[in-house]
């Protein structure tokens, strides 16, 4: 009797449950967020990731380590003498790889919808992100990157393989995009008067140069960005879209980043350190770059609130062409000199100043080209790549008494050390990446 009663009770309870699932079920769908998004919105986020890697912390570190800038306050004082931890690189690495995943998602959507333009642009974004990743860190995940479901612990590909993949991506992109203009084609955050194809050629030149394939760099540079067609980031004075340097210097971390010392770049422009090629016009350029020994964040300054930041430019392309020609052609021909002087002519008009043409040749000319690139590409990661590739031929000062060279790479991030089971092992800051060995 008692047992029966008990069983009956249990049965009742169970019956409540079978009928109460309709009370609880079906409301666990987020009312706050979407579960999918179209490709054109996804690529925009990848574009922002590209702007960030080029104009935020990675760029500031490169600038400090190449002594364009000086770390003057708080954590930046440590950064200035190369004191860094792996955790300090989490941020850039994460944005770079989530940006990569984002462009791969866009690519998938593009293929689904037969949108060759979106496919092309997403490949260019992947190429930039991977190109910078491998330039900064050496061996990095590529073939297994950005695909958590199949590869939760991406393997690291060799730097050579990553550069080869970057070139393939850009080749594909050029074939998809043809002469499509940047303007109006998935250009969130960007502005350029040119075509995606010329930008892709400049990028090919850039990464051939970093990989020391000078003949290929030379030939790609020749199809690269033409005058006035730089790919720039868009910044305005509205909150959320201000120049990243401006935000850092003025709004977030006043006093951290300066050209105090003054920095080598400041000295070259002010004449405190003589240039290889005398350039009176640099006094005008200095006023655009700097305000005293501060970075110029005033209206009209290089780092003003609404100043665009170059992602890949005509001047870079010309200087790649010049250097690559010098190195590919050896002592023969004048291709290098012509390209270099085209760059100088452009600078003369840009700054309305005196940028005398060069008559040098050989190693002197090569160094003049490198110095011009060092100055012209203020805040660019490419300057850091060049310094390491050329074994610091410009004698950028080593800022730490305990170091024998400038840093040769970024440290692998703590987040990757901690979470990737295929992480190959920590490599020190002063160990060269394989292409520079």
């Amino acid at each position: 009797m008692k047992k029966m009663k008990f069983n009956l009770i249990l049965l009742t309870v169970l019956s409540i449950f079978s009928s109460c699932s309709d009370y609880t079920d079906g409301i666990n769908k987020s009312p706050n967020e979407f579960t999918d998004a179209p490709g054109d919105l996804l690529i925009g986020q990848a574009n922002l990731a590209v702007i960030k890697i080029n104009g935020s912390q990675a760029s500031r570190i490169s600038g400090i380590w190449t002594d364009q800038f000086t770390g003057s306050d708080r954590q930046y004082i440590s950064l200035d003498s190369y004191i860094v931890t792996s955790g300090g690189f989490d941020d850039d690495w994460s944005d770079l790889y989530t940006g990569l995943a984002q462009s791969k998602l866009a690519e998938t959507k593009a293929i689904e919808n037969d949108d060759i333009f979106l496919e092309g642009v997403s490949k260019i974004m992947q190429a930039i992100l991977l190109g910078e990743a491998t330039s900064l860190w050496g061996d990095v995940p590529d073939s297994e990157a950005g695909d958590y479901i199949t590869s939760p612990n991406p393997l690291y590909d060799s730097q050579v393989d990553v550069f080869a993949h970057v070139q393939d991506l850009l080749t594909d992109a050029i074939s998809k995009l043809g002469e499509t203009t940047v303007s109006g084609t998935y250009d969130t955050g960007f502005k350029s008067e040119g075509t995606w194809s010329e930008i892709a050629h400049s990028l090919k030149a850039r990464y051939y140069l970093v990989a020391k394939d000078y003949p290929a760099a030379l030939s790609e540079a020749k199809s690269g960005i033409t005058l006035g067609n730089d790919l720039l980031s868009i910044h305005t004075s509205s909150s959320g879209s201000r120049n990243l340097y401006y935000q850092f210097i003025v709004e977030e971390r006043g006093g951290y980043l300066t050209a105090g010392g003054p920095s080598k770049l400041h000295n070259l422009l002010s004449g405190a350190e003589p240039r290889l090629l005398v350039t009176p016009g640099d006094s005008k350029r200095k006023d655009v770059y700097f305000d005293g020994t501060e970075l110029n964040t005033n209206v009209g300054g290089y780092f003003a609130i609404d100043s665009s930041f170059p992602l890949v430019s005509y001047i870079e392309t010309k200087l790649i062409e010049a250097e690559a020609a010098q190195r590919a052609n050896g002592s023969t021909g004048s291709e290098g000199l012509i390209a270099f002087n085209e760059a100088r002519t452009h600078l003369a008009s840009e700054y309305s100043g005196d940028f005398p043409l060069s008559t040098s040749s050989g190693i002197n000319l090569t160094n003049e080209i490198l110095e011009e690139k060092y100055i012209s590409m203020i805040g660019s990661l490419q300057v850091f790549h060049d310094a390491r590739r050329t074994n610091n031929v410009l004698s950028i000062p080593v800022k730490s008494t305990s170091a024998t060279s400038i840093p040769q790479r970024f440290l692998y991030p703590q987040s990757e050390i901690g979470a990737n089971k295929n992480f190959p092992g920590v490599i020190g800051l002063f160990e060269k990446t394989s292409i520079n060995n």
């Binding site: 309870v13 706050n32 922002l48 931890t85 955790g87």
Partner: protein
Amino acid sequence: MKTKFTMILTLFMALIVQISFAQQKTVSGTVSDENGLPLIGTTVLVVGTSSGTTTDFDGKYTIRAKTGDVLSYSYVGYTTQNKTVGAASTINLSLQSDNTLDEVVVTALGLEKKKDEDLSSSTTVNKDALERSKESGIIQGLAGKTSGLKITRNSGDPGAGAYIQIRGQNSLNGNSNPLIIIDGVPVSNKSAGGATDGTVGGATDGVTQQSRLNDLSSEDVESVTILKGVAAASVWGAGAANGVIVIKTKRGKRNSKAVVNIKSSVAFDNINVEFKKQNTFGQGYPSWWLDDGKDYSSDGGMWVANTGLSWGDRISDRTGGDDTVTTGNTRFESATGNIIYPITSKNSTEVFNSTNRDQVFGTGITIDNSVNVAFGADKSSTFISYSDWRQDGIIQGKSSYRRQTFRINQVTDLSEKIKSKVSASYSRIGSDRIQQGSNLQGLYLGYLRSAPDFDNRDYVGTYFNSDGFPTLKSHRSYRNYLGSAAPTYNNPGWTINEQDNPNYVDRFTITPQFDWKIKENLTLTTRYGLDYYNDHREYYFPVNSAAGLGTGFYGERDLKEKTENFNTFLNSSHIINENLNLNLILGMSIDSNQYSILGGTSEQFTNPAVGDLRIFGNATAANESIASYKEETRKSGGYFILNMDAYDQLYFEASARYERSSTFEENVFYPSASIGWKFSDLVNNDILSFGKVRVAYGEIGITPEPYSTTTTYGPGGVFSSWGDGLSAAAYGNPFSRSNTLGNPDLKEERIKELEFGADIRLFNNKASLGFTIYDKTTSDAILNVDVAPSSGFLGKRANAAEITNKGLELDGSVNLINNTNFTWKLNANYSHNKNKVTDLNGVESVFLAGFTGTSSRVVEGHPVGTLWGGKFARDSNGGYVLDDNGFPTISEEEGVLGDPNPDWIGGVGTVLSYKGFTLSAQLETSQGNDHWAGTEGVLKYFGIHPETANESTATADLKTFDGRTISNGTTFRGNIQDFGGGDVALDLEWYTANGGGFGNQSESFVKDASWTRLREVSLAYDLPKKLIKNAGFSSIRLTLSGRNLALWSKIDGFDPDINLTGATLGRGLDYFTNPSSQTYAFTLNLTF
């Protein structure tokens, strides 16, 4: 749902089996206590049957029984008596108080139970102990009073919330707070923090928000029972996994005239620990920094305006007198009429540490008034209360808290069999909060960094530029002494007077309950609970607030939460025979929670002179934003609890809950069982008055948080950890896939606990001791596991961790003296909990809260909340790896720095009464907890910390961090230390690098923060009854009390009982956290 409920009721009723009796007669009588007063609600049972009744309001009962039947009379706190039914049909008797401590615990369902028969480790804190605490929140008032419970304040701000932890951290999944049950129904205890967003806690800046538990007045509380063990809590299922706190509010007494209680209290608060600041060296830095020429020929510090650093010249070396200034157009005219001109030579030797301090801190005043009335009629009882707590904080300016509460608790007999209980309350809170933490607009950041030779008092005024053009409402701080533009850091005067962070809370709860006595031994209880609040928060930063918000910022957030619970259960008692009693509870409950946030921000004001206007629209469209968040969860469950006692000494309890939640659409089952043996009945011993051993096993779960099963997409944007970034809104709203991977395979976390304990009383109940050991394991703990960023995600929710908590709890008390005129009681408690994350699925560590350089994390093999950050590099012997100059280098990998969880906590309390005087005191201690002294590190960087003002004389040629040599015999500002490679000079180059808070190591700032404090002390005097009787009073009591009066700790500058990131899992962090306070209070209680 309603029809479904009716159906269930019918089913329940169908289960009631009638048992009939023969040859019965009616027995009646009155049950009273030893003083002859009727005992209402005494249980009268016919032993061996299921027949029983309870006494009415006059202590009378009537029951049908046979001659020869044994009637059992029981009442909580009194010795049970048995009477055999004889010829007489009237049995009157008086029950004797059983002279135990008649301790009662409240079970998870809100039912009372004798502690002696309870098989759990639950402990109860009653109203006297709570009222003594002088805390605005009930939770804070529990600190140190019982074992197994750890309370940490979020800050000393008025009304600030607190973190509650019962038996260590079980889960990493969202809120770590225990479930709060008030009068039988769950209420919200969400604590949502953050400056400008509505995210739940974890922010390192913003204002300290209140916790919802502060909304209740402690004057309304009768008792608080802490259910520490899983077995005791499991009837609530998921949600009770972090323990349950059961609060019982006061009720009126039946057949009682109105008793009015009036309390009026005034309290004075002061800051209890302060950072010391050096006043030897002024604002500035060494002259060799000027052109970075590193020309060390002149190595003196010099005065530099507007720099953040105080590494300048020695103030006493100045010429004295007024500063040399340039009088001209350029000037700052302060609101008080002072004119400040550009300084060309700093001559003044004045220092301002103490005036700057007095600008910020003062005496906070709290006025707390409350009145309550309790009365009862024949068939009803009523309790009505009103309270008004008004507090001005120790921080001068806009720091205040005002809470008004109103409550009515009504019990009515609707019929002989049906009783209704209705509790309703309303709380209205208005408060002003002060910005804190890692925040250029925060109080401590600007105040503590201020140079000693800078006078902060003139913080607002008009700046005139060189053309004489005025800028109204200019903001002057040591980072911009002319107020020519928004300074880098706020002047503290600006932070506390010009910024405005009010919030307003309206909260209602209503809890109707019906008890239907279906049969003498069978009751159906049905409860509904509604808890609703609206928390409106505003954040206002006027134009010229420190960098970043210099163009003005206004934000508003409305948080709304509705918590509903419907619970119904059948409670039946059966007396199987003389030696075996059985009680069965069978019930079901459904829960629903709706939470939403709506808010927006407006920045870059179009009209900068907004005055008191707090509106959106005072900015261009691009600078306005709006955000919303909605969340709904539901849960339904059924449970049963079986209680058996045999031979009045063996107890057994089994319970089970079967439930389903909306966030995890599968049914889960949580069983538990306990057994206890009152062995003292077998031991005839004068020393042992009572002894019981108990064992309990329980399982409980935590369901995944809502919406964590799918990967989401939303407007993206990119932001660096340095603050610069691009928002999606400014770029046509591109969408980003969430960096957190949704996990459709998530299942519930399961906590299994085995506890063993004993409760013993000795020497005729004069001394009591309870102890419990427990072993608890959480498997499949859900957490945001870091995934390799190269996979395209940064984290995912996963059942990835295993956490164990093992511990020991001791509670003891002793009545040392117990005379009519003099009593002396002592009580003590001790808790030790060892928490360990035993498995993290191969992930090295997971961030919980803090900063990039120093954080509180989950690390495999370490306790939850482990402090983590940059370390010095070590060689294989544990020595520093030194650089060429003899200074330690930094390890390339971050690592574990300390454990913020205490090794043990404890409390000792005493109550002494002599005639009308009652003296009580409570000591509390926490031992072995580490804390990151982030503020101290940063003050070293700035040259503010007294250590940085030491002057040392080199006893040999000493190297500095940057490779200079300080030659033998030279006196320099700094210290000498040997890191293993011989003495080196720690001067500003060291402190502004790795020796200070902005360097790449934080291990030297993680410190042992063990503390012991005099938590409270009070002296009360009850006026003699005969004196006040004529005036119509039944009691007048005067109390002088103090809270937090003494603190012993190795930590300098702050009270380690606060935490920057509030009531989150991230523990042991200090970074410009608003300070804590101590209180002196005077209270008058009147009863008539």
